[in-house]
Symmetry: C2
C-alpha cells in the first residue's frame, strides 16, 4: 500500500461509511460474518484494509463484521489505539502475546454459519489473505467447527469496492479534473524533437509540484508513446524522439486523496504541408471514438462486462483493425485497476470476472485501442460512472484529435 | 508497496545482484526451483518482488530461478519490456490470453523435484503468495506431478532478504545518517509547551523537504510520546503538551533509496531547579543503555534470536522493571520490519521466528524499553550489522540522556 499521501489521522468518515455499507452487503448476501485477518501490513497489506481500517496493522489482527451489525477489532495492544480512534468498531479487543484466544472467544460467542475470508482466484482486490496466514488460521481453528465454514468474500468485497459512495465518486472526479489540467499543460509543452522521457519527466514534475502521486507506478505513469516504433504497454517512456507524422499517445492518471483517475489521450504532429491528419489517422481516431461511445451506450445496470467488451471490440474489428489484446475497461477507484468485474472477454487470465453485472455506483474505464501502421498507437480512455439511466462520462471525453 | 520513490528505470544493478545471490542460496539449500507467482501487484504485491524484478506486474506473471542458474520470467506481453530491460532474466516468455500454457511448458522442460513458493506461517515477507493465487496455481497444475512438489520458500527468502549486500548496507547507513541529522534538528526545535502533533509535523516537513518518505506509515512515524499520560505504541502523536518533568520519546526512521532506518531517542525536560534528570529517570536510562549493550555483545553469527532477546530482557527485569511486551529487535532493510528471524521470545504471535541464527550481513534493530512511572516511556533503539566478529553499531548509539 502506498502510505505516502496518508495524512496524520486517517479518513475516518469514509471508513465508517464503508463499514456500514459492508454490514448492509452481509445482510444482502446472507453471509453471517466477514473476517479480515492480517499481520505486518506494511509488508504488503490486504487491499481491503484501507476501506475498513485505514492504517497499517503490525501484529496479527482481525477485523470482524457481522450480518447482525457487530463490528469487532482484535489487535495487538500497541495497534489498538488507531481502531478506537476510528469509531468504526464497537468493540476493540487487545492482546499481548497470543492472538488465537481472543479470536476463538469471539467466534464461539458469535457462532457464525459462514465465515467469509479474503481469498479469490478471480480478483486480486478480494485476495488479500496470504496463503501462510490461511494456513495459520486453519491451525488456530483446528479443534473447532469454524474452519469448515469458510467461504470466499469475493462477492462481498466486489460489491463493497464497486459501489462507490458519493464521497468516493467526488474524489475520483477531483482526480480526473487534475488529470485534465495536467494534460492541458503537457499538450502546450510538447514539441517535435523532445524525447518520450523528457515529456514523462515534465509530467512527473507537475505531479510532484501538486504533492500528488501517479495512479500506478511512476516508472510507467505516464506511458508516453511516440510514433510507430516505440514499445507499447506498461513499460516507461523511452528515448524515442517525437517527429512530424507521429501519433503521440499518453496513458496517465493521478492519485488524489487516495482515489485514482486513468485517462488516455492522443495527439498528432503534422508533417510539413499537412493541415489535417492523414486519412488512416483520422479513420483510426474516429473508430476508437465510435467504439467508446458504443460501449458507453451499452453500459446499463445489469449488463455483463463481457457484453460491453464485445460491443467495443466489434466496432474495432468491423472497421478492419486487429482485435486489441486486452480488456475494454476495468473498475476505477482507490486503485487504478480496482478489481471486481472487468469489461473484458472470457480469456483464461480474466477468470470469471467478465461475467459480472454492472451496478449503479460502479466507475469504469473505457479504453479500446488500435494501431495505425506507420503512425503509432491510437488509444483513448475515458472514465464513466453507472447510474440508473446508464453510463455518464466523468469529465469531457476526447472527440477531436489534437493537432500540433 | 510504496512506489512513490521509484525512479524511472529501477535499480537493475541491485536486482541483478540479488537474483544472482538467490541462485547461490538455491544451491546452498538444495531447492531445484523457486517460483514467484504474482498478478496485479499494485493491489498489494509480493514483498519479494522489488528484490527480483523492481516493477509492478499487471497480468499473471512468474519469476522462475533455478539451482542450475536458469532465470526465466513469464509475463503478459505489455509487461515484458521491463523484465527485458532489467537484464536479470535470461529468458522472457510473453503471452496474450493464457498464462498456464507457458508455465506448464517451462515446468515440464525443467522438471524440478522441489518448487519453492512464497508462503510462510511465520514470516510476512516470505508470504507474498495470496491464497487465491495458490488455489489458481493448484488448478493450473492439476494434471501434473508438480503440485505435489511445492515447498515453502521461507528459508530461501529469509536468507535472501537477511544477507545484505554491500550496496544494501550502504543504503541503510545513508538512511540512518539522515535520521540522525533530522533528530538533531528536532532536538534543537522542541520546547516545553509544544504538542506531540506539532513536533510530528515539524519532522514530517523535514522529511518531505528532502523528498523522502518515513520508514513506516507516516501517521505513526515519528511516534512522539511526551510524559507519563500519552498512549505508547503504534498510534500517532497526540495533542499532549510537552511539560517540564516529561520524558520525550521518539521512534522514527526514513526510507531513502528504498532502504530504511529505525531509531528511537529520548530527551528529558528539566523542571525548575533541576540541573540533572531525577534518579528514577537516570536509572531507567542507564538500564536501557545497559540492556542494549548486553544484547549487542551477545550478537554473534550462529546465536539464536531468542538468546539475544533473553539477554536484554534479563537486564530490564533484573533491574526491577516489568518485562517489555514486544521483541528486543527485528531485521531492518527494504522494510522497517524486514522479516526473517526476530530477536524475540517464543510467544505465539512470533511463530518460529525467534529460533533463527544470526548470520553475517544481517542488520537488526535493538530496542529494549521500560516505563519510568511519573515521567514517561524510556526507549532507545539502535541499528547494528552482524560481522564475523560480532555486531557493530550503524551510527553513534545514544549513551547520554539529552537534557532540555
Amino acid at each position: 500500500m502506498d502510505h505516502s499521501s496518508t495524512p496524520i489521522g486517517a479518513d475516518y468518515t469514509l471508513i465508517r461509511e464503508k463499514v456500514q455499507q459492508a454490514i448492509g452487503i452481509l445482510q444482502e448476501t446472507g453471509i453471517d460474518l466477514w473476517l479480515t485477518f492480517v499481520r505486518e501490513t506494511s509488508a504488503g497489506g490486504d487491499p481491503v484494509l484501507p476501506f475498513i481500517y485505514g492504517h497499517d496493522a503490525t501484529w496479527q489482527s482481525a477485523f470482524i463484521l457481522t450480518r447482525s451489525g457487530e463490528r469487532i477489532a482484535i489487535m495487538g495492544h500497541f495497534d489498538a489505539e488507531n481502531a478506537r480512534r476510528s469509531g468504526a468498531y464497537t468493540e476493540v479487543i487487545t492482546y499481548h502475546e497470543a492472538f488465537s484466544p481472543p479470536l476463538l472467544e469471539v467466534l464461539k460467542r458469535l457462532n457464525p454459519q459462514q465465515i467469509a475470508l479474503n481469498y479469490s482466484v478471480n480478483d486480486p482486490h478480494a485476495d488479500g489473505l496470504s496463503h501462510g496466514l490461511y494456513q495459520l488460521l486453519i491451525g488456530y481453528l483446528k479443534d473447532t467447527p469454524f474452519a469448515a465454514r469458510f467461504v470466499s468474500a469475493e462477492t462481498l468485497i466486489n460489491k463493497l469496492r464497486g459501489r462507490k459512495t458519493t464521497t468516493e465518486i467526488e474524489r475520483i472526479e477531483t482526480a480526473i479534473a487534475t488529470t485534465f489540467a495536467l494534460y492541458q499543460q503537457t499538450f502546450d509543452y510538447v514539441q517535435v524533437g523532445m524525447t518520450e522521457q523528457q515529456i514523462g519527466q515534465f509530467m512527473h514534475a507537475r505531479v510532484q509540484a501538486l504533492g500528488l502521486t501517479t495512479s500506478w507506478e511512476s516508472a510507467s505513469c505516464p506511458a508516453v508513446n511516440s510514433g510507430p516504433d516505440t514499445p507499447i504497454g506498461h513499460a516507461g517512456p523511452t528515448d524515442v524522439v517525437v517527429q512530424p507524422g507521429h501519433l503521440l499517445h499518453f496513458d496517465f492518471g493521478v492519485r488524489q486523496n487516495d482515489y485514482c483517475s486513468d485517462i488516455q489521450r492522443v495527439l498528432y504532429f503534422l508533417r510539413p504541408g499537412e493541415s489535417a491528419a492523414p486519412a488512416p489517422v483520422q479513420q483510426g481516431f474516429a473508430t476508437v471514438v465510435r467504439a467508446i461511445q458504443a460501449a458507453v451506450d451499452a453500459m446499463k445496470p445489469g449488463v455483463l462486462g463481457k457484453a460491453v467488451d464485445a460491443v467495443a471490440r466489434q466496432v474495432i474489428t468491423a472497421a478492419g483493425y486487429p482485435e486489441f489484446k486486452y480488456a475494454t475497461g476495468h473498475h476505477l477507484g482507490r486503485a487504478c485497476h480496482d478489481g471486481g468485474g472487468i469489461l473484458g472477454p472470457e480469456w483464461e487470465r480474466y477468470g470469471d470476472t467478465p461475467n459480472r453485472p454492472l451496478e449503479v455506483g460502479h466507475v469504469y474505464t473505457v479504453e479500446p485501442g488500435l494501431f495505425v501502421p506507420g503512425y503509432g498507437y491510437m488509444g483513448i480512455e475515458e472514465d464513466v460512472v453507472i447510474t440508473e439511466q446508464g453510463a455518464v462520462f466523468l469529465g469531457q471525453p476526447q472527440t477531436e484529435l489534437i493537432l500540433k
